[in-house]
Amino acid sequence: MIVGEQKPISEIKQIVAPYKKILILGCGTCVKTCFAGGDDEVAVLASALRLSCMTEGREIEIEEQTIERQCEDEFIQESARAVARNQAILSLACGAGVQAMARRFASMPVLPGVNTTFMGVLEKPGLFTEECSGCGDCKLAVFGGVCPFTRCAKKLINGPCGGSRNGHCEVNSETDCAWHLIIERLKALGQMDNLRVYQPPKNWSASLSSGPRKLTREDHVL
């Protein structure tokens, strides 16, 4: 899922300062799971902003809504009426959701309330870790399902650097060494021979490095 965290309230207050009527719009999929932008976070942020404005003697009207996904027009349409009643949208979606909202409502300011951070997993309650860089050229089959491009601080693809200690990265001792995990996993799978095959330099042209990407599924295009 896409992992993000809510911006500091001081920054959000600055962003919404020019407006007196705002819609705080949550997104009920990825950012809900990481406690950044679901219906609970919408309610808390709305309440905190109202309290902050009352404290400062400033008027604000806040409407709250959460839709299933802000990155799909089918769901975005559900917010149209609420959008029309307000001067701006404070979106708690990821960056894709904010931009999809902005595309749909051309004359409405759409403001980000979340810093989109990475693609990752929920490792344990309250802990999210980055697992995928979206490089467009997945080699997880070779590395036993552990991505060295994302999870090795040095992005090494032909073996470990030798600097890890007790299975932890020398760059950040709180991070697992990706190569330690790869070797443990390949041993368990009986696939250590995978590491005998030289991995050529990664083709980064499929990644964001070559500019924004598009994916077309012709069978779904009318």
Binding site: P8, I9, S10, D40, A43, V44, A46, S47, A48, R50, L51, S52, M54, T55, E56, E61, I62, E63, E64, Q65, A82
Partner: protein, 144 residues
């Protein structure tokens, strides 16, 4: 809005600490208006409930939870403690003063200690004065 004569204290409490706040022997001359909110377990005290208590005009919000290690649901009071800590930081950030929110551990059924903590919350409300946000809940706010 007119000058309020009584400070307002909202008390969220686990029903395992005491069942009915209104039945507690709080001094009839207490200057604070009390508002008790019962919870089946203190872990049910969501952050938005605490914030909305302030929106509804509370000067101080107190959360009375079971003693650590004695939660009937194992860790409900620990979750409440973390949540209260998080909201206190948020209150500081929005200029409302995190001291207006307090958590107290009380042994189940120890009403004397519960009353003592409620009085502490009164004193806190008197010391901190009226909440700068005590304008009351804004009815025009819409939840879709």
């Amino acid at each position: 809005m007119g000058q309020r004569s009584k400070s307002k204290v909202t008390i969220f409490h686990c029903i395992n600490v005491f069942a009915d706040g209104d039945a507690l022997l709080v001094d009839a001359n207490e200057s604070a208006a009390l508002n008790f909110v019962k919870l089946p377990c203190s872990s049910m005290v969501k952050d938005v409930f605490l914030l909305r208590a302030f929106e509804a005009g509370a000067d101080v919000v107190a959360v009375l939870v079971c003693a650590e290690g004695a939660c009937r649901y194992v860790e409900g009071n620990l979750r409440a403690k973390k949540r209260v800590g998080w909201v206190k930081a948020l209150l500081d950030e929005i200029g409302l003063d995190g001291r207006r929110l307090a958590l107290f551990n009380v042994t189940a059924g120890d009403t004397l200690t519960a009353v003592k903590f409620i009085r502490e919350a009164h004193s806190l409300a008197a010391a901190l004065g009226p909440s700068p946000a005590a304008g009351g809940y804004r009815p025009e706010t819409v939840k879709v």
